[in-house]
């Protein structure tokens, strides 16, 4: 009955990667029956801290105790055995195996030395139900599931391991609003069952709703611990970035006159059963947002413009002239000048093992070369410009881009396309999983590009971003534009109401009248 001994404790944990200090004498105390939020910018050491806890990396120094006894984990399996289970930000599901296979993967039920498929199915169904995801079929292959469902499987998988400490690293970043509220219910129930939960998120409102205790990390150290709710958002953000924090969002200019000719226009765009009669315009200098619940056709719409989808019907016009864009290569041609910042930077945006330099110049190679030979000097000039413009933090241009932090990787993706000076920029949820500081830089950059004359179409799952960045927002529901919000009409309430397609009820009329 020694309540003074915390469930788990880390003392003086340090870890270096080459010359970079990821963790420096970090401390953490985890108690049962509570939800502990870990905050910090990307690169603050949160990920390393978790990896140490979960047995993925070994610390250079420091000690960890579980129930007061010193422990070391040589592998993720060892940490699991001790009851520490982590849901990683980078999904740890095996794509070619079924949902049930994945859920029991660390310790499948066995009969006569072979995997007992019936028992496995039962365990999987139970775990899915506990995670509030009973709609997922246990025999479905993981690779056939959309990202948000995979994340639910990941959570079910963690629960099936009967953890004592459950770590969620950005576990809600790809979830739909409905799933997030389900998961919150699940997490609160687990807390009442006596589990210790570590919750890492960049979403302050989630933390406010969920956490009991918060610890802020900066530059590899824990800089502050406080009871949840005892600090304002602004104070928390200041702790995280360690500097005065005023305006996340840059000021919006006066609205672009509706009479200006549209740069990008869609007329009755339809595709398969995902897009229905979408018509929209984006003018030069405008930031137009795409809102709505996740998975209502926003991604498909961007891919449609970018020439990835086949069998589109309807028309796409650039500068008033109809065009047929047959591939991403065609989309970036001079007459069109389109760029797409993809959602999944690791697969669609970057070649991780290749260098920062190579990644940066890929999209612009044709402009930088004469007769098939790359003009090194011109390449270097342009790269220097971009690294400066975006303040990309990298130890050099010739290191693999995979070695950069998430935020800096995303900057490389954006810089790569800016090297072509695109006239139309499509952004697909570009700030997912990146830190506040980088987000702020991206918002400013977006506005700067618009002011310089680019037409920007910006999909985000974060309502604050849409409110803070966009001149207009189109809310999609089931593949169709349900509502267009202009200027002051863009409020959280209006966004949510139209995202849920509940018109009239919460009086968007009133909002319209005030505009």
């Amino acid at each position: 009955m020694d309540s003074a001994v915390p469930l788990f404790q880390m003392e003086g944990i340090s870890k270096r990667y080459g010359g970079v200090r990821a963790l420096e004498k970090a401390e953490l105390v985890v108690t049962s029956g509570s939800i502990h939020a870990i905050l910090g910018e990307n690169g603050a050491g949160k990920s390393t801290l978790i990896k140490v806890m979960a047995g993925v990396v070994a610390p250079d120094e420091g000690r960890m105790t579980l129930d007061g006894r010193e422990v070391t984990f040589l592998s993720p399996a060892a940490a699991n055995q001790a009851g520490i289970v982590c849901i990683f930000q980078e999904l740890s599901l095996v794509p070619d195996l079924s949902v049930a296979d994945n859920i029991v993967i660390s310790d499948p039920p066995k009969r006569f030395g072979m995997i007992d498929r019936k028992a496995q199915r039962r365990v999987a169904e139970e775990a899915l139900a506990r995670a509030g995801a009973a709609d997922i079929h246990p025999l479905a292959l993981v690779k056939d599931l959309p990202l948000s469902r995979r994340q639910m499987v990941e959570i079910a998988k963690a629960l099936a391991r009967k953890p004592r400490i459950l770590i969620l690293d950005e576990a809600t970043s790809a979830l739909t609003a409905a799933d997030v509220s389900k998961i919150f219910g699940v997490l609160k129930r687990l807390r009442s069952e006596g589990l210790a939960l570590l919750y890492i998120s960049h979403r302050l409102n989630e933390i406010a709703e969920l956490a009991d205790q918060c610890t802020v990390f900066r530059n590899g150290r824990n800089v502050a611990s406080y009871k949840a709710g005892s600090k304002s958002d602004n104070e928390v953000v200041e702790l995280m970035i360690g500097r005065e924090y005023s305006h996340i969002f840059p000021p919006k200019p006066a609205t672009v006159p509706a009479t200006a000719a549209p740069r990008l226009e869609a007329r009755k765009l339809s595709w398969a059963d995902r897009l229905h009669d979408i018509s929209l315009t984006v003018r030069a200098g405008e930031v137009v947002g795409l809102g709505g619940l996740d998975g209502q056709g926003q991604r498909e719409l961007l891919l449609a413009f970018f020439g990835v989808l086949r069998g589109l019907s309807g028309e796409v016009l650039i500068d008033g002239k109809p065009v047929a864009i047959s591939s991403p290569a065609a989309a970036r041609e001079d007459g069109i000048g389109m760029a797409l910042i993809p959602e999944d930077r690791k697969t669609e945006g970057l070649m991780l093992p290749m260098t920062v330099r190579e990644n940066l110049s890929f999209a612009a190679l044709d402009r930088l070369s004469k007769g098939g030979i790359i003009d090194r000097a011109a390449e270097q000039r342009l790269i220097d410009d971009m690294v400066g413009l975006l303040a990309i933090k990298t130890a050099g241009l010739d290191i693999p881009v995979g070695a950069l932090s998430g935020g800096n990787q995303q900057k490389v993706v954006i810089a790569k396309w800016l090297m072509r000076q695109p006239r139309i920029i499509l952004l697909n949820d570009p700030t997912r999983g990146i830190d506040v500081g980088t987000k702020q830089e991206l918002y400013q950059l977006m506005r700067k590009l618009a002011d310089a004359g680019a037409a920007i179409l910006f999909y985000s799952t974060d309502y604050d971003e849409l409110i803070g960045c966009c001149d207009r927002v189109l809310v999609l529901y089931d593949g169709a534009v349900k509502r267009e919000l202009v200027g002051a009409e863009i409020t959280e309430r209006a966004l949510i109401a139209s995202a849920l397609n509940i018109h009239g009820e919460e009086s968007p009329v009133g909002l319209g009248a005030s505009a």
Partner: protein, 326 residues
């Protein structure tokens, strides 16, 4: 979706290979001068199982997202070895068979150790070990020769109850004894998981190394079973370089025909067996049509291309081009 639909989706590659095999075999037997008789089936089975065993071996490694370019050479080496050891009294013969299989296991284990613990690329590692295995085979049998216990050989290549080819029965037994337990064991699942996404598997605490090691080792064993059967059919040992290489390459063709993904994580040895049988039948088709045998490689290649393209047809229906690369 109903359960059986998931099952169907999983077995698509295998069923396609089965379909191709059945069609080819019907064409073959209906044009064969002797028709569909036990004799014709027995001959076809005996030729088919050789490639089937080697293709099963290849499957195990391909599932881990590796490739084994030494299977054909293990097949030859064990053939040469069997032509020395699988002789004499029943006792001596039994010991000989065990020794041959043990050597196959050892070859596979060496491949596995080099790839997993030495962290060499599977292609390079198995080209090298394949050359070594072939070299040993050549030293054992510089010239074709040797012998085998003919009673055992005849039993293995004959017919059970005068109808069913014994080689098919053995193939079936090997599937039950090796493939089924492997694919349903934790190690088998680890092999699949490692082939599909090694990082995800590692993060989930899956015994990746043991799974891959088991796959390579069992691959050696299966190739050795193939080598034994080669000896039963030919009564001799022969370190024929071209034949070893052909078996290696054909095993890859059979695996692909059987719906096993070269990217790893997907497919089954049963699919590969039908792939192997189909591939063999394709090769034999020309004989029943009385073509010049010179045409065989060309014809076999064309049919293989067509068959593999069948699996790629789904790509034409893809409406989101990003799915091409998944």
């Amino acid at each position: 979706m109903k359960d059986w639909r998931y099952w169907l989706a999983e077995q698509r590659g295998m069923l396609l290979a089965l379909g191709i095999f059945i069609v080819m075999f019907i064409i073959y037997t209906s044009n064969h001068p002797a028709g569909f008789t036990a004799n014709v089936v027995q001959t076809a089975a005996n030729k088919g199982v050789l490639l089937a065993f080697v293709a099963m071996a290849q499957t195990l490694v391909v599932i881990t997202a590796g490739i084994d370019l030494s299977v054909g050479m293990i097949f030859l080496l064990t053939n040469c070895l069997a032509s020395w050891l699988v002789v004499g009294t029943p006792m001596q013969t039994t010991l000989g068979v065990i020794a041959v299989l043990a050597v196959g296991l050892l070859c596979g284990a060496i491949n596995g150790a080099i790839v997993i613990y030495g962290r060499l690329q599977p292609i390079v590692a198995t080209i090298a070990t394949g050359a070594v295995f072939y070299g040993i085979g050549l030293l054992l049998r510089p010239f074709p020769g040797g012998s085998v216990n003919e009673d055992l050989a005849d039993a293995m290549t004959g017919r059970v109850f005068d109808v069913v080819p014994a080689s098919l029965v053995v193939l079936f037994a090997i599937v039950l004894l090796i493939w089924v337990p492997f694919s349903r064991s934790v190690l088998g699942r680890a092999a699949y998981a490692a082939g599909s996404s090694e990082t995800a598997a590692y993060m989930s605490g899956v015994p990746i190394r043991r799974g891959k090691f088991a796959a390579y080792t069992l691959a050696g064993l299966l190739a050795a079973i193939g080598g034994l059967f080669l000896t039963f059919f030919t009564y001799t040992g022969d370190a024929a370089y071209a034949s070893g290489n052909a078996y290696t390459l054909f095993s890859i063709a059979a695996v692909v025909l059987g719906g096993v993904s070269l990217f790893g994580g997907k497919g089954s040895a049963i699919g590969a067996i039908f792939g192997a049988l189909a591939f063999r039948t394709i090769g034999d088709l020309l004989f029943v049509f009385d073509f010049d045998p010179l045409w065989q490689p060309l014809f076999q290649g064309v049919i293989l291309l067509i068959a593999v393209s069948l699996g790629a047809f789904a790509l034409f229906r893809v409406r989101n081009r990003l799915e091409w690369f998944l």
